[in-house]
């Protein structure tokens, strides 16, 4: 009996120790300038004279760059008292929903995620495993005179309708806390990890939070840093990115910070993703392939350093990859 009590008391006193990577709560793993995600150089897939570093956001506790966004969105809602007696709803292609679901569960808050058609099953299952309700939504849900972004429209209608439940939308597309997340964490981390020596910052265009927040921070440190956005084709299959030929640009996206937008189609994005797997062991999602492909188009070289956001892991897209592989890698008779 005494021994058990002693052990319990020892365990109770084990404090967080980042050096030992010992944490008392999964949320203590959330990134920030004192706990940055790794920056790892791409060595084979890019031209030899390009120093491209990927910021491995899939090593965040809930698996993507959106951990930062979700933590800041929720903190903002709590600070403003908006979450009291409310359920949370968010439109997400998966990653923000996943991080919100994990964090909301800690707070005892129920989450509904409206998710566009065609998002991989892995993400939908992850959301349901985390206790979220998943409403799959076709883009053209409202057939007449409504925005094409069906998932966003559906989430907003839940908030505005008389459903008998009060819904609050985190709204990563319009909520400036999304930008603040990257201004306060992603940007300072990159600046510190590169010792201020970088010429390019690349991020996919989605909600605009990463490119606006981190881009603004980096340009404030050094206005010559070129901020590059990556945009997919219309009808693309790169979850997390948005083509503004078919979707409305988010309100938080600040175009004045973006020096160039590089268009990347599905094929090169998936080809490069495959090369990242096979030649370098980066198990990344297709948006990372798009970022690395775009970096290769910069014509950068010499002593120039580029940093690109690797938003999430390839494990969430195995069904997409399996479809693309077909019989490749299977024995032939």
């Amino acid at each position: 009996m005494t021994r058990i009590n002693t052990r319990a008391s020892l365990i109770k006193h084990l404090a967080n120790d980042r050096q030992l990577r010992r944490y008392g709560d999964i949320r203590d793993l959330l990134p920030g300038p004192d706990n940055p995600t790794p920056l790892v150089r791409v060595n084979r897939v890019t031209p030899p004279d390009l120093q491209l570093f990927l910021k491995l956001e899939w090593l965040n506790p809930f698996g993507s760059v959106k951990d930062r966004t979700a933590a800041h969105l929720l903190a903002g809602l709590v600070e403003r008292g908006e979450l009291a007696d409310a359920q949370l709803v968010e439109a997400s292609s998966g990653n923000t929903g996943i991080a919100l679901a994990a964090l909301a569960a800690h707070m005892g808050v129920q989450l509904t995620v409206t998710i566009p058609d065609g998002v991989p099953e892995e993400k939908k299952t992850l959301l349901r495993m985390l206790g979220a309700e998943v409403w799959e939504t076709p883009d053209d849900l409202c057939p007449v005179d409504h925005p094409k972004d069906g998932a966003i429209a559906l989430a907003r209608s839940l908030v505005a309708s008389d459903t008998g439940t009060r819904y609050v939308m985190a709204d990563q597309y319009e909520n400036y806390d999304n930008v603040r997340a990257h201004y306060e964490t992603t940007g300072p981390e990159i600046w510190r990890q590169t010792n201020g020596h970088l010429q390019y910052f690349l991020a996919g265009l989605g909600t605009g939070g990463t490119i606006t927040g981190a881009g603004r921070f980096l340009k404030e440190q050094d206005p010559t840093i070129r901020v590059i956005g990556i945009e997919p084709q219309a009808g693309h299959r790169i979850p997390g990115l948005r083509s503004f030929k078919e979707a409305k640009p988010p309100g938080i996206l600040d175009w004045t910070l973006i020096d160039d937008v590089i268009q990347v189609d599905d094929d090169p994005a998936y080809d490069v993703t495959e090369r990242l797997f096979r030649e370098e062991g980066f198990i990344v999602g297709p948006s990372t392939g798009a970022v690395v492909h775009a970096a290769s188009q910069l014509g950068a070289g010499g002593n120039e350093v580029a940093v690109g956001i690797s938003a999430d892991s390839g494990l969430k897209y195995m069904s997409y990859f399996a479809e693309r592989l077909g019989d490749e890698g299977l024995p032939t008779v």
Binding site: P143, D145, S161
Partner: protein, 87 residues
């Protein structure tokens, strides 16, 4: 479940009341119910969002269902939608 509606000549398999819900919620919920019905089954749908007068007929066209009747009175819209073949 089979009911006879107030018009009296349409056999209704399912009733959905979306009063108070704004577009696209009525469209979303109607599509979910229609998905579960058998071809030939009729959904009686009640809406109060005036946008439904455009959205629900468009939904029926898009899904290749048949909009049998519409009743728009006093800010309440009723639709009777027959599920099409193979949708």
């Amino acid at each position: 479940m089979t009911q006879t509606n107030e018009i009296g000549d349409i056999q209704v398999a399912e009733v959905l009341d979306t009063s108070g819900l704004l577009c696209p919620l009525p469209v979303y919920k109607a599509a979910l119910v229609l998905k579960k019905l058998e071809p030939g089954d009729v959904l009686e749908l009640t809406c109060t969002d005036p946008g439904s007068l455009e959205d629900i007929p468009a939904l029926a066209r898009q899904r290749r269902d048949v909009l049998l009747a519409v009743d728009d009175r006093g800010g309440v819209q009723k639709f009777w939608i027959e599920k099409g073949e193979g949708v």
